[in-house]
Subunit: 157 residues, 4 copies
């Protein structure tokens, strides 16, 4: 698993997302409820990522974005993924693979960040909307990791 | 089913929630995306409620609130439900019974309203926090209906 | 949490379910894939039960069964729960609270035991069908614990 | 949507799955509960497939299988998907996109067929195990469609 974990971290970084970017989302989600440091958030993010379910969702989700970007799938499917219409919901479903493992606080936080698009999620979303690449799956994956890490902290305090 | 539907509407009303209160949440969730009337929102709310899964969640959720309020369950359980600690997540899970039937737009909207607590959800939440009754399950049920109705409208436009 | 854990174990026992009954289900689910002992299964069952989400689902689910049995809820709702028609699905949803925390192996095992009703699940199901009490929620809770413990073992081997 | 529906049907056929193959699974799932004809099963399968959520899951799932088969993704990811280890659960999660829309009967039937692998699911599974192609996502998608169609029939009878 160690190799796959490092591959997941590397792929996130290649697509513009550092662990710290996600920790900042976690901090904002938890600051009204718990006294926490950014380092604790980093730690929770790492623990969420370092699970089979998360690693697989990260690797497969980013692959889908990359392949749609390069036009490597059938025309119809490339179009569906790159357009990311509001009726395309598979990106949220794939992210549930991460969220479900972390209880209902993760679930409601996920819906919230998906709607509000704070910090790095807004950055990624804008890149997608400006057609600077395909980020259909990535924003939901990042939201799911942040929401799950916030849930871990809430349960541990 | 007709009797059960009317019982569900009646129980919501008995606990202080009218269809229109939910429609106002739906309207706010959809107004930035679609040209809609409040009447269309009423219609979508009715359609969401009029399903087996919704009726059962409404009736069972409200029963749990009422029985906890009256102290009819084992002490330990009454306490867990009336306190509605942030680590109690069964209310959200029960509401998923409604949300899941309505796709991923419903899911993210549900997380959002659960966090923001707009309109009637905030009213119910406050009643619970001020110990004027037990509303642990009701606020999530109302949020789930609103989120699902908004998803129905998004898919139909 | 320790008190709530012991309350959950006690309530299961009061309704006729011992940890070992669940361990036997886990053993059968895993014996074709892994070399395991019944004691390891006991251990996995205890670990699954000893989580907020599981304890709450056990306590609330058994309360619903007990209150329906005693006719303490509104007529319409008592009837829906005691009849446990094949269209009533809230029992499965409540059990998802346990299953979701334990990944997709838990999910498919849950569907499987819910359909096959092996061991103690069949015993409980029969009691309900013969109107010797209301066990609508309990069989799904037991299935969810068994499926989740099997998933834990699969992931740890 | 009409074009996407036809593309989904075509892709299923290209990978060896006809509507009728799925109808046969539905028939077996429902025959003990309801008097049904194979034609009714065909009809329910078509209705399940003809939804945004189902079409997207079919198209994206089959694309992932095809790209893993051709080795078009990063080595690490190709390997994870083609091996389909018992700890890889993203295939079941993607299929939930179809199952969730169809209630809890769909959920338990999905777990059951995923475990038993009847009819065409067993055929696909064997092709994958014998390395005659990558069918990691397809078997779960087919199981999800069958389970959902069975749930539709159960609710309509």
């Amino acid at each position: 698993m160690k190799d796959e974990f490092e591959l997941a971290i590397k792929k996130l970084k290649d697509r513009g997302v550092e662990v710290r970017d996600i920790s900042l989302l976690v901090y904002d989600l938890q600051k009204d409820y718990n006294e926490i440091s950014l380092e604790e958030c980093d730690d929770a993010v790492i623990k969420v990522i370092n699970k089979n379910e998360s690693i697989h969702a990260i690797l497969v989700g980013i692959s889908l974005d990359e392949m749609a970007e390069k036009g490597m799938m059938d025309d119809g499917i490339n179009k569906i993924i790159t357009e990311d219409s509001s009726l395309f919901g598979l990106d949220e479903i794939l992210a549930l693979s991460i969220v479900n493992m972390n209880g209902s606080i993760a679930l409601t936080n996920f819906g919230y960040v998906d709607k509000i698009k704070p910090g790095i999620i807004g950055v990624i979303d804008k890149l997608g909307k400006e057609k600077k690449g395909c980020y259909t799956f990535l924003d939901d994956i990042v939201g799911a990791i942040a929401a799950s890490a916030a849930s871990r902290i809430a349960h541990s305090k």
